[in-house]
Symmetry: C2
Subunit: 438 residues, 2 copies
């Protein structure tokens, strides 16, 4: 069973509820909405991601013989139910914010409109997809905002939580404005630019740092970025200057050096001085090692001569906010708005739309959450992605989604673009929504 497509990547209760709905003939149209609750001052807004993965999954998910065999064997279901599941397909409608849209707390990011059992069954994996990718993209854009025009590369596969998270991190980082990823599969699958340097093991296996530099450069003459901190950063930089003339005589330029440990700002200054003194002012300095938006912002503010950042663990695990308080909630059933009203978790009933307004400079000035069809001036954010269980539009290419994210992030109020800790943005409730929830 393929992790990416199997409908058994779900919580058991989705299936037990399904069989109860079936026993009761509860098959009316349900509207479920996925949204993220307030995530605190380090995530004042979110970058929507995973919508197209979710739609792909809804198109493909079905119970094969293998999955039905487990349903039969697990002891929770009768044969009749298993036979019904063998026929199960998602036949509903999906409306969503397109990939790369900026969203705010409580705003529905994706809406499923389908017969109750279908809309229920898809909950676990839809949440897993939308949460996972939105989490990572919402972290990544902070690194992008901090780095500005400097190069940003995702290095984080090794410490992402599993293979799918590594792939999603690569995609989410690129969506949020990174320049490239180290993860080959993201290149193969999404066409994202893939780049890389070398590991300490390469230097260690040679035992002679200069020889390692020469060998790597000659094998990859078009993309020479040398790792200089295996032994001593400044000595490493010095050796770069020593091998550079020989390589230049072979037509090979040293594009960059990477520093992966120590005081990155101090090292970068010293290395810049060493390189410049050897007429290697075109050789760029990349740094890596425990970076996130805060450390990048500090390095930038410090004026360190750094041309690019490799980020890994802290971004790929969204270390400061490792999960978002998201939900996929039933908000309408059989035409009636419904909502849970437990302590501290009130949510907004009804089949909704979000409408965004901009000021005269094109800066976002406020969103209104209202009902679908309610007349509200502005740009409607939820668009139809599926109808009758089929895509109504092609998936956005990663480039289109990335451009959307860039455009939208440039239209955020300035306080959001500067990683302020308490930016403000107005999300209003429409007159009809207020009336229903008052």
């Amino acid at each position: 069973m393929d992790i990416e497509t199997t409908p058994l990547l779900t919580d058991l209760y989705e299936l037990t509820m399904l069989s109860a709905y079936r026993d009761q003939g509860m098959n009316e149209t349900a509207v479920f909405e996925f949204f993220v609750r307030d995530a605190g001052e380090r995530r004042p807004c979110f970058v929507t991601a995973g919508v197209d993965t979710a739609v792909d999954w809804l198109e493909q998910a079905q119970f094969s013989d293998e999955e039905c065999a487990w349903l039969r064997a697990c002891g929770h279901f009768d044969d009749d139910f298993v036979e019904a599941m063998a026929e199960w397909r998602f036949t509903g409608t999906v409306r969503a914010m397109p990939e790369g849209t900026i969203a705010f707390p409580e705003e529905p990011i994706l809406q499923v409109i389908a017969p109750l059992p279908e809309a229920q069954l898809v909950e676990s994996r839809l949440m897993n997809i939308l949460h996972g990718q939105t989490l990572l993209a919402s972290k990544a854009i902070r690194a992008k905002l901090a780095a500005g025009p400097r190069m940003l590369v995702d290095f984080g596969l090794r410490r992402a939580h599993g293979g799918e998270a590594g792939l999603w991190a690569a995609r989410s980082c690129y969506l949020a404005g990174f320049d490239a990823t180290a993860t080959c599969l993201a290149g193969a699958r999404y066409g994202i630019p893939v780049s890389g340097t070398m590991a300490h093991s390469f230097i260690l296996a040679h035992n002679d740092e200069s020889q390692a530099f020469l060998n790597f450069a000659r094998s990859h003459p078009d993309n020479v970025v040398l790792l200089i901190d295996t032994y001593d950063v400044e000595t490493g930089a010095q050796r770069v200057t020593e091998v550079a003339p020989q390589l230049a005589s072979e037509g090979i330029a040293i594009k960059g050096v990477r520093i992966d440990s120590g005081d990155l700002a101090a090292h970068a200054r010293e290395v810049r001085r060493i390189l410049d003194a050897a007429n290697l002012s075109q050789t760029r300095i990349l740094v890596s090692g425990g970076l996130d938006e805060d450390r990048i912002a500090d390095l930038v503010a410090d004026g360190a001569p750094i041309d690019g950042f490799g980020v890994g663990s802290r971004v790929d695990s969204s270390a400061d906010v490792p999960y978002l308080d998201c939900a996929y909630k039933l908000h309408e059933y059989g035409g009636q708005p419904v909502h849970k009203r437990s302590e501290k978790k009130n949510d907004l009933p009804g089949r909704k739309q979000i409408v965004r307004q901009y000021d005269s400079d094109g800066v976002m000035s406020g969103d209104t959450i209202g009902f679908d069809g309610e007349p509200i001036e502005g740009e409607s954010l939820l668009v139809t992605k599926m109808q009758g269980g089929e895509r109504t539009t092609d998936a956005d290419s990663i480039e289109v989604a990335r451009q959307r994210c860039t455009d939208q992030s440039q239209r955020l109020p300035a306080s959001f673009r500067h990683l302020d800790t308490s930016p403000t943005y107005s999300v209003y409730h429409s007159p009809q929504l207020k009336k229903l929830t008052s």
Copy 2:
């Protein structure tokens, strides 16, 4: 390309280094070791997990036509290299701590002994697998230690970082002593017990809480656990007592109720009182919602009448320590010990073994990191899992690994079993290791 098996789930630099090694004919035997550095007082020890997944991956990984096509198209490699990769297989030896072993900082958890290019290429995915599963199991065991004999179920798929992380979380939690998971695929793939209750949407779709309880119970008479906090917890509990006689007359017992919000200890007390007053003292109380080891420990210390815990986001994302500072380092090449000596990241050279000693009560009293073959008294922790690219032993069943973890956790010094913030454990360096690193 299947995320779980494709060798393109790797960092580009593994491949560029490989082609450079190839150009230089660098093919001598390398020894790489995977270990975790000091992870702070919230992770004084680790539960080894992912070893068998890693071995499975090493047995299967190969470049199919599809992968070779990308290598050819990506612009970094020549045809000659791509042809060589089409033939690539892992032919090396792997020694590792078996799944469920307790490990400490700096101790090699897995060791790869193979021709340099093979051992290098597998780095990214091996780290992704070992880090991801060890991270999750090392978090999960803390919840187990806090919960003691009370029931513990993993609910976290929806907020795990991707599908593979959700599956790994289910497996890692069970390995660490949980009773079950909600994730069906973990049941199908590993035979882990799967359990579940109901979602708020089930109640909301009925609009009548009592009717929802009746319908669910009749559909699943053998496993009735009712969610009672959709509207008001105590009212929900009261309704449970009202439907119980009718269900009892149909031969259906209410096994449990679940509370998912509010002051869990206070609600549990009140619900226990309501249930007991209605002769439902056999009905168990399960709680969920933002739980981790700290909150579980508080609830247990408080004496709240709670029989079981459902844990999700905070455990499945290892929220307090969302990644471990792990490494996969070259420690020997061509028979010579090697190691990186950058600032603050000194690591231990050579092909190592870890030997564990126990006191007269069977409690772990200290580990010694030494060289393979060095005479040290005690239990050797690294065992051979693969030779010549093939498994030398079957993968441990999850039950065997889980039992190992239970046994070992019972032999941990008491300070580790009580979630102390600064437990002490001695990890010694052997005489030969000291000599080499002094």
